[in-house]
Amino acid sequence: MKIIGLIIVGLTGLLLIYATGDFPDWGDPASPANNYLSTRYIEKTMEDTSVPNIVTAVLADYRGFDTMFETTVIFSAGVVCFFLLRVFEKKTDEEGLLRHNATGITLRIKGVEKISYSTGEFDRIDNLWTPQDLIITTACRLLIPFIQLFALYVIAHGHYSPGGGFQGGVILGSSIILLAISHDLRTSLTRISEKGAGLLCAVGVFIYAGTGALCLLLGGNFLDYGALSKILPLDPVSARSFGILIVEVGVGIAVMGSMIWIYSNVSSAGRYREGL
């Protein structure tokens, strides 16, 4: 089987390498892909949207529909992970151990699963509990605010530098995932709950589609941000730039929510009791 696989792979590779003979050379400015459409994007972006970062302008304005449905794909991936994996377990009345973090005293309490850990005063001690490492938790506590600040910068500054909703959303989500890895899943769930992550996902897509619908209500086409100039004190070109920002914020929220949602579902196999 392995040898047959190797032969098939080799043949396909040779065929593809033979086909590259017809491809334009690497970095050739005269290649078909680098002419026609992209020339217009590069030369007209500033006039149309006043956004120097062409990638952002193409992403959120010229190809706004595409990006909207990419965001929907991410949202549905989060929903699919939830529906496939989530197991709801009945909370039992069994006895369990709680550790008071400040004093180190351990208590035995009935109905331990019903207590919430949102205050962070108590840790639940079961066979999944591991003592938290002081160096790792302190380092992550210091790092996470700066990671989130950088993520906000990446989202908000996407018009002028490399960045935008997708990148900033992933960085925001990863800061929460870092919290879940360095502490445990329970700690991260006290910051952004399961419901919260799912809601963020949906809110992001809603902001995107809602901006499009608002343009429609104001007399433009769907996702034609120029129409926003009727309610904003801006000329239509600046209104496009502003519309792109709103949409990027929506994308950022959706991506962040779905990253956290997917992570907590996959890492705990849907039980939400342990993390990695």
Binding site: I17, G27, N34, I42, E70, L84
Partner: protein, 136 residues
């Protein structure tokens, strides 16, 4: 002889992506473990992302962010014409930007399917899963 060198310089990037793509393809069809197959799919995807980004490259072009367009104090705004030759093609970057995030999301879906299969058959090896299906 210079012809061959010219071909190699012009096309070697595609050959690298094809090699990478075939590594992923081999993992998809020949590996027995489902997680290794998922990793193969991701390698395949990475090759395609690199391929797209390299299509947009231009010799002498810079990143697709317009320079000096706002001008100092608003007076010098867009005094010089923007030439398409100076900037690389933004379109592949846009497409791949979304594709990267979507690939992470689909990786999550693939892993959750693998978890479900493991829950049911207690293994991730393909031949053992097939044997267990035939038993029933």
């Amino acid at each position: 002889m210079p012809d061959i060198i010219q071909t190699i310089i012009g096309k070697y990037n595609y050959w690298i992506y094809i090699t990478l793509m075939m590594i992923g393809f081999y993992a998809i069809i020949a590996k027995n473990n489902l997680v290794k197959k998922i990793i193969g799919v991701n390698i395949f995807q990475t090759a395609i992302i690199l391929f797209y980004v390299s299509i947009g490259a231009k010799w002498g072009g810079t990143i697709p962010i317009l320079q000096n367009v706002h001008g100092e104090g608003g007076a010098g705004a867009a005094t010089h014409a923007i030439k398409a030759v100076d900037y690389i093609n933004p379109l592949p970057h846009v497409l791949m930007l979304t594709a990267i995030v979507v690939s992470v999301a689909t990786l999550g879906v693939a892993l959750s399917l693998a978890i479900l299969i493991y829950r049911r058959y207690k293994t991730l090896e393909e031949d053992e899963i097939l044997a267990r299906i035939r038993e029933k």
